[in-house]
Amino acid sequence: MKKKLVNQTDFSFLARSVNESFARYAVASFCTQLDPTLDELSDLRTAVSEAVTNAIIHGYRGQSHGTVYITVKLFSDRSIIIRIRDKGCGIPDIRRAMTPLFTTDPDGERGGMGFSIMESFTDDLTVRSFIGKGTTVIMEKRLSN
């Protein structure tokens, strides 16, 4: 069965930390159309929060003039694809950045678990990054039937 796009939203916001909760609520609210379980919704909120926080802290290094772009696609087979993109500094070594407990911000008490959480709370995680151009995180979550 070929999956068909059921619905899509695209939105963007300034890279301000106050928008982290807005982003996870907006994505979760859109995804409720597929009637996910509370646990699935909680997973989505957490994964989105991690990706958006990374964009704000690491992508734009706390400079709030940047913009974070989010696309959410809902498919007929109950899969969801969430793309979170920044036009920030980029990640020099993605593999290293994705290592659990690796952090470039040891004083910020962030713990280096962001990518591990995104990976474990979704079914598929792809990270693309170019130095000076930005980072795109694509997460796929397949909802239970």
């Binding site: 982290e20 909760s21 909120r45 926080t53 704000i56 910020g108 008490e109 962030r110 959480i117």
Partner: protein
């Protein structure tokens, strides 16, 4: 939306910090300073971080917990996490934090 507050209760040498709301990178910044100030004020040797009323927690919560744990331990004290919800427990387990920091379930006592 996204307001994180803390209620402090100090009795019998135990400082209970009851967090209420959502823990993310934005909300955690001010509360972290406030918790440290209270730990310092009471010279608390035993700290209970109560997460029962926390409705959301991402890895910023891990940072908050580990940071306070390290601080309290450096002063010879102990820190425990109390009553985390299912989502918070998952994040704690994923990071292996639950192997280092004791998690207790005590829904009747220590609530202020």
């Amino acid at each position: 939306m996204n307001v994180l507050t803390a209620i402090y209760n100090y009795s019998d040498g135990i400082l209970t910090v009851k967090l209420n709301g959502e823990i993310d990178h934005h909300s955690v910044r001010d509360i972290r300073v406030e918790i440290d100030r209270q730990i310092c004020f009471y010279r608390a040797r035993e700290v209970l971080l109560d997460l029962e009323a926390v409705s959301f927690m991402d890895s910023s919560g891990l940072g908050l917990i580990l940071g306070r744990y390290t601080r309290v331990k450096e002063n010879g004290g102990t820190l425990k996490v109390q009553n985390p919800g299912a989502a918070a427990q998952r994040v704690l387990r994923l990071a292996g934090t639950d192997k280092i920091i004791p998690v207790v379930f005590n829904r009747d006592e220590h609530n202020s």
